[in-house]
Symmetry: none
Subunit: 141 residues, 2 copies
DNA sequence: TTGCGTGCAAAGGTTTTGCATGGCA
DNA sequence: TGCCATGCAAAACCTTTGCACGCAA
């Protein structure tokens, strides 16, 4: 069951560090690559994907797709459970993605689970709509 | 605001027909292509994608990403208007789409609007998760 | 030393774009 | 006739695979 974590290489550590530094938002393979390169710790794309796969199997990261994007998003899976409260709002006008922690959603989660028998994946679920800024711009027209 | 539906071509009709015949499930660009070819109504991949894009803009179809697949899924969106008033739950396992009429969501809408300044688009927002049946199957393993 | 880890190059798959031709209105 | 629609070929992307070399244990 436990297959260990493999060798401790600096590439693995760099990727893990970046994921943990950004546990409040999601990242893509490309953004990891870009960031590490800036840090002078270049890691091949192949290696990034292979580690993400492994971390996924071990349950250390989550993977999901955001509509309108073509690449997979990854996020460090916080074991404290608070990540269940994290959800996203995406503005259909400017494309802005808002990461948001709000306790309001616990009861929604419970309600849907109890009354509708459906377990929501807040990580993957994205609310589409229009943000404050874009709405203001529209009204000004 | 209304930009019409463009010319009435047989390709457009064939795609729309297929989507409507399968409004209870989702399809991919590839499955549309395959099906139409069998029907002797071959339509180029490019054309399929371009129509799906347009239908998406017009709100006639929904687009999803399903777990473990690499391609986008599309599903005909019922236009009787009733779908504009409720949320949808989509099971990431079996792909089932659940229409949910529930007053619980009105307050959610209000909360996000007031406290987060974000106006949710009911029609485009889909909750991803896992349905009762699939969850049961998972637990049986 | 052993075997996993790494990364380049190339392949695979989906979706988009350029461009010349075809067809609706 | 004037545009939009179509579809081939090619490009653009993201992700995976093959393979030889590197490195942790």
């Amino acid at each position: 069951m436990d297959k260990g974590t493999g060798y401790k290489t600096k590439q693995r550590q760099a990727i893990l560090d970046y994921l943990m530094e950004n546990k409040d938002k999601h990242v893509t393979a490309a953004s990891i690559s870009e960031h590490l390169e800036k840090d002078g710790a270049r890691v091949g794309t192949t290696t990034i994907y292979r580690h993400l796969d492994k971390l996924l199997e071990q349950g250390l990261v989550r993977k999901y797709m955001i509509d309108g994007t073509t690449s997979s998003c990854f996020q460090y899976a916080d074991q404290q459970g608070k990540c269940k409260e994290h959800f996203h709002l995406k503005c259909g006008k400017c494309g802005k993605l808002i990461h948001m922690n709000c306790s309001h959603f616990e009861e929604l989660y419970e309600h849907i689970l109890e009354d509708h028998g459906f377990e929501i994946d807040f990580f993957r679920t994205v609310f589409y709509g229009i943000c404050r800024d874009c709405k203001k711009t529209e009204e000004d027209l």
